[in-house]
């Protein structure tokens, strides 16, 4: 799941740095993730995993790191282990 998320982030995040260089807990906003790009990533994730982000997850924190995104997606997919 983490690998897929990284792929989608690379494709839709318009980051000025390579996603491989980012640790799971690196701050994505500091790395240059714009609010526009974060929405594009969300849309790609919704499409790929066939999920819909609830309003409670639509805030900066949910998208602040790769780990945070993974936790949100895992929760929505019912993957308890990855959600931890």
């Amino acid at each position: 799941m983490n690998a897929t998320i990284r792929e989608l982030l690379a494709e839709h995040g318009s980051l000025p740095v390579s996603v491989e260089t980012l640790a799971n807990d690196a701050d994505l906003y500091e790395a240059g993730l714009s609010s526009f790009a974060s929405v594009q990533v969300m849309l790609a994730l919704e499409e790929h995993f066939d999920i819909e982000f609830p309003d409670t997850m639509l805030n900066r924190k949910s998208f602040a790191t790769i780990a945070a995104i993974t936790a949100c997606v895992a929760t929505l997919c019912g993957d308890q282990e990855a959600a931890q």
């Binding site: 500091e30 714009s34 639509l58």
Partner: protein
């Protein structure tokens, strides 16, 4: 509201009204000459209004956003430039109160704001970036204990009169455009080289000239939180609410003038309803919409205030953006209606029903962070965020 806070609010209203009276008597001259509303600002200082938002333990009065909005509206009914100056100052104070109160330097600065009634200015707009506040080209350079910043700031309201300017920039030379910080520079720690003259249609007294800003200060003056968080959690809401409060004040005064016009006509011809009366009823409903909008936003902001997640949510951002868009558009419709009611007496300058200044000042609202920019921003969020359809919150 308990009894003590009611007395405090009453007292603030009284003080604001005294300032408004002075501001009103100079409003036309401020507008005509495009000069700083110095009498009104001096009166704000004398009534100690510049420090009201500072917490009581730091020498202020801990005024709520609703109380500050009310002051903005009262001032907006007398001189929009003075009111906008007050609101922009309070927006800057809110950033320091919300995000700097734990840092020793900023705590001491808050004490000075209240004690010395300092006036704070803002430099977010930058050449090449415009109103895209969440991006910067310029970068702050931290060299040991010192920080240096140069910014091509195309609009700094009352830049020359401010006692301090809060400036946004990238956080370091290699930072991404959205990785920003905000730094307090005190008068004496910067130079301003004028690049653009503020000769505008309205809001002339805000003296929002363009400057090449060059500052050097102790690095501890950089606000300790990323600007992204400051913007999301306090600045956007404060700006959109307090600006809207000023705009409501401008529109409210226009409606008052239109009402006096209709009333005078009714007195002259008892028994018949003057032609403007119907439009007055219509415009009263529109003004109520702006008021409801601002008051709802104040309630939402109050409810979310201590919850960083709620403040940073898309739902909150879209709601607050909507307040700015609709109040900035509605006031133009309202003042235009008032003009129809007052006719030539409203179109002419120097009558008790003149509305030219109101209309010109109100035209700045849609451009003050362009509505198109804000709509574009909301439209992105609405690709994932569902519209709030509940009447309970």
């Amino acid at each position: 509201m308990n009894e003590i806070s009611e007395i405090k609010a009453m007292d603030l209203v009284e003080r604001a009204r005294r300032v408004a009276k002075i501001a009103a008597s100079h409003a036309d001259d401020v507008d005509a000459r495009g000069r700083f509303p110095e009498e009104a600002i001096a009166a704000m200082k004398a009534e100690r209004l510049l420090g009201v938002q500072v917490p009581a333990d730091l020498g202020g009065e801990g005024a709520t956003t609703a109380e500050i909005a009310e002051i903005c509206s009262i001032l907006g009914q007398s001189c929009a430039a003075a009111a906008m100056t007050f609101s922009m100052h309070q927006i800057k104070v809110s950033s320091v109160v919300s995000h700097g109160a734990d840092a020793p330097w900023h705590q001491a600065f808050l004490k000075r704001i209240a004690g010395e009634q300092l006036l704070l200015g803002s430099a977010t707009t930058e050449a090449g970036i415009g109103g895209n506040m969440r991006n910067s080209i310029c970068a702050i350079e931290v060299d040991g204990d010192t920080c240096r910043l140069e910014k091509d700031a195309t609009v700094i309201s009352y830049g020359e009169e401010a006692d301090a300017i809060l400036v946004t920039s990238r956080s370091h030379a290699d930072a991404a455009p959205s990785d920003q910080v905000m730094t307090v520079f005190l008068k004496g720690q910067y130079t301003l080289e004028k690049t653009h003259d503020w000769d505008t249609l309205g809001m002339r007294g805000t003296c929002s000239d363009g400057f090449l800003f060059k500052g050097e200060a102790p690095a501890e003056q950089i606000l300790p939180k990323p600007f992204a968080e400051i913007a999301a959690q306090s600045m956007l809401a404060n700006a959109h609410i307090l600006w809207s409060a000023v705009w409501f004040g401008i529109a409210a005064d226009a409606v008052n003038r239109a009402q006096s016009f209709v009333k005078a006509a009714a007195r002259r011809t008892p028994g018949t309803t003057p032609p403007g009366a119907l439009r007055l009823a219509e415009v009263s409903g529109l003004l109520q919409l702006v008021k409801s909008n601002v008051m709802t936003a104040l309630g939402q902001f109050e409810a979310a205030r201590d919850d960083e997640t709620k403040l940073s949510s898309m739902a909150f951002a879209v709601a607050i953006n909507n307040v700015k868009i609709s109040s900035s558009e509605l006031i133009l419709t309202i003042i235009n209606h008032c003009m129809m009611i007052c006719g030539i007496m409203g179109y002419k300058n120097g009558t008790p029903f003149s509305l030219g200044r109101h209309l010109r000042d109100a035209h700045s609202a849609q451009l003050m962070i362009s509505n198109d920019r804000i709509l574009a921003n909301s439209s992105t969020m609405l690709l994932v965020q569902r519209q709030d359809t509940s009447l309970l919150r």
